[in-house]
Amino acid sequence: MQGLIRALLAGVEVMTLLRAYCRSPSAVAGLLLLALVVVMATTAGWLFPRDPLALAGRPLVWPGDNPRFYLGTDNSGRDIAAQIFHGARISLLIGLVATSIAIVIGVVIGAISGYYGGWVDTALMRVTEAFQTLPNFLLLLVLVAVFGSNLMTVTIAIGVVSWPAPARLTRAEFLSFRNREFVQACRTLGMKDRQIIFREILPNALPPVIVYASVVMAVAILLESALAFLRLSDPNVASWGNLIGLGRDVLRIQWYVSAIPGLAILLTVLAVSLVGQGLNDALNPRLKGR
């Protein structure tokens, strides 16, 4: 893994990439927004040392009414600001872990499928298609219903339903690389297949997959929120989705209970997407110099 990252970083000269990335204002805005979410997540424990799910004051205080709760309180009297800050941790955690799971499964299946071709490819692709034809939210509901809904199972379940698209992308990349002469050269050197797949081809095939990972991450955050909205996510953590789910009961009058975490989700997903788009433009050589 370490060697892989080193090879990846070395090939794409980091400085050039950074310069290409910074050329787009929207990509920079996305990066700043994402940095803000990360800052919220890291400072949550310091700014709001108390348990965010503990009762803090009167329920349903409007934002600004009480200087102690500048984002108000929810229907059970918990501090919304504390939940937003702590929720940033949960969203990022779910986003990163679920995305990693999806990308690892997807890359391994896609790489094996694309490299070997033939019946291996046929078999793996049929499985992938089977996963793709099921709406992934329904599959997620089934998984959560079967395995319960604590934070870990929810995260893993989101990862498990998100791998088919990265798998197909990786496979397409591998199909275009496997007959290149440098891969044939590795075979004539007597290199093992595993080494060719993961150390030679993968670093070349990875950039578009990394870009796609941002989409997976945005979707993972949304999936968790959707689960929480249906009250099927882990109720014992302060997640944005849980807060929206709670706010559903008072949506018509105290709409801010749902709107504030909704806005947080919107901005986070937007940030991740913008970063992904910016990476894509920076890594895509055809757009260079435009």
Binding site: L8, A10, F182, Q184, A185, R187, L189, G190, E200
Partner: protein, 537 residues
């Protein structure tokens, strides 16, 4: 006589950050009616840029910043897009290197040629189709009536190029620009296309600006020659003057680098056989359901050849002859259907698993594509050290050896920690060679190792190969489509056609007294043959 097309002090600027400020610098050329002017140069000389500048088909960011292109009393450099469109096709037509990509794959040939007439003339539909038929007959396409309805993929490369020429000449343009029109074609097809262009040009009195990198083609077709280097015309004169009495040192160097067809005196070859190929066959089946209607291609058919120890066996043939498939069978990138390939005493086709992996070190391959054959994300030194490391050499030792090999193939040993894209094409080919040599193979298989290189670089790499061969006692299987290259390096040659070896023997014998009709045809099609043979060398 009045020039048809006159370039006066034409300069073309490249965008900032390119490797030089101008693609063309004050290029002055004139094309007379009824003449073929060859613009010849190596890659990066600006020869194609000249053609594109005349047609005003320059990439974005590349602009004409000085000079004039005079055509029919007007300066093309100052026309607007609409006026330019009227000139393109009708006044100046162009044919390209790759006829497959220059034609629209979803439209029939007749449709595409007819479009030219539809845009530029008022002819009726029936008049257009009659005209298309006439044009196709003119370029001597077999069965023009069928070709009208054919799609590009249904034609062979040579036929596609004929269709392109028919399209270019549909409106009887005064000037035809041909940008490497025969480079992608086999030599026998190339000879036919050159004859066709010459013939049509003489009949219609068209002025042809012919861009090429091949002095053989120049000798074959040109009336006058312009030699370009780094965006400048360094020499201009009649074909005889330039080829026989080149003035500029660069021209002399280029002409000197053109490989001679004459084989050097034969070397002593050992009687011991190191590699023997016995009745090897490979058949491909594509399409068809349950074997019905499947297309069967016999890529290699019952080939038997021997490579003596320390010798060089050339396998020559045109595209589709099966020479590359055979090379890949020898290194076992492709599994042959039947036959035996013996390296020393072992049948390498019978090996599997771990035995095969260990055996691979004994037969190594040098690939054709200097860009595609090196992993872009690995340092050059790693690429060379990789092989020995796989076969159990400690990393430090392998890296030290990589540096020695760099020296051996004529690269700077300090450049081992650079990436492939920082090297030129010729240098990359040297890295590929070093990688293959790192395992100290018994047999080296070189698949078109110099065909992607410029002629002067090609000469250097061939020289290196010949030098290493004697120093290391390498046994070499050399695959090439270029008989001139084969004549230079091979002790023995085998000529392949449609998967069969039609003729084989010592190089001098095969080239001087070819027995098979196909070998004779191949030798007869080499462009500039008379020039190459008469040259003192």
């Amino acid at each position: 006589m009045n020039a048809l097309l006159k370039l006066e002090g034409l300069s073309v600027r490249l965008p900032q950050g390119a490797d030089r400020s101008h693609a063309l610098r004050e290029v002055s050329l004139s094309l007379q009616p009824n003449e073929i002017l060859c613009v010849v140069g190596e890659s990066g000389s600006g020869k194609s840029m000249t053609a594109n500048a005349v047609m005003r088909l320059l990439p974005t960011g590349v602009v004409i910043d000085q000079g004039q292109v005079m055509f029919g009393g007007r300066d093309l450099a100052s026309l607007d897009e609409a006026e330019m469109r009227a000139v393109r096709g009708a006044g100046i037509a162009m044919i390209f290197q790759e006829p497959m990509t220059a034609l629209n794959p979803l439209r029939t040939i007749g449709d595409q040629i007819g479009e030219m007439l539809k845009i530029h003339t008022q002819l009726s539909a029936s008049a257009i189709s009659a005209r298309v038929l006439e044009r196709l007959a003119e370029v001597r396409i077999p069965d023009p009536a069928m070709t009208i309805r054919a799609y590009p993929h249904e034609l062979s490369g040579g036929q596609r190029q004929r269709a392109m020429i028919a399209m270019a000449l549909a409106l009887d343009p005064k000037v035809l620009i041909a940008d490497e029109p025969t480079t992608a074609l086999d030599v026998t097809t190339q000879a036919q296309i050159l004859a066709l262009i010459r013939d049509l040009q003489a009949r219609k009195g068209t002025g042809v600006l012919f861009i090429t990198h091949d002095f053989g083609v120049v000798a074959e077709i040109a009336d006058r020659v312009a030699v370009m280097q780094h965006g400048k015309v360094v020499e201009l004169g009649t074909t005889h003057e330039v080829l026989r009495h080149p003035q500029h040192p660069y021209t002399r160097q280029l002409i000197g680098a053109v490989p001679q067809l004459k084989a050097p005196p034969p070397r002593a070859i050992s009687a011991e056989t190191i590699l023997s190929i016995e009745d090897v066959s490979k058949t491909y089946r594509t399409g068809g359901f349950l074997r019905r209607g499947a297309r069967v291609t016999h890529a290699v058919r019952d080939v038997s050849l021997n490579l003596p120890k320390g010798g060089t066996l050339g396998i020559v043939g045109e595209s589709g002859s099966g020479k590359s498939t055979l090379a890949r069978c020898i290194v076992r990138l492709i599994e042959p259907d039947k036959g035996v390939i013996r390296l020393g005493a072992t049948n390498i086709l019978a090996l599997g698993g771990e035995d095969l992996r260990r055996q691979r070190a004994r037969v190594q391959m040098v690939f054709q594509d200097p860009f595609g054959s090196l992993n872009p994300r690995r340092k050059a030194g790693d690429l060379v050290a990789q092989g020995p490391i796989i076969h159990g050499v400690p990393r430090a030792e392998a890296e030290a050896r990589a540096k020695e090999l760099f020296e051996l193939v004529g690269l700077d040993p300090a450049s081992t920690d650079r990436f492939p894209h920082e090297f030129s094409g010729g240098q990359r080919q040297r890295i590929g060679l070093a990688r293959a040599l790192a395992l100290q193979p018994d047999v080296l298989v070189a698949d078109e190792p110099v065909s992607a290189l410029d002629v002067s670089v090609q000469a250097q790499v061939l020289k290196l190969l010949a030098d290493l061969r004697t120093r290391l006692g390498l046994s070499l299987v050399f695959i090439t489509h270029d008989l001139r290259v084969a004549a230079q390096v091979c002790d023995l040659v085998a000529v392949m056609k449609d998967g069969l070896v039609v003729e084989s023997g010592p190089t001098a014998q095969v080239f001087e007294h070819p027995e098979h009709a196909y070998t004779q045809a191949l030798l007869g099609s080499i462009p500039g043959r008379s020039f190459a043979l008469n040259q003192d060398g």
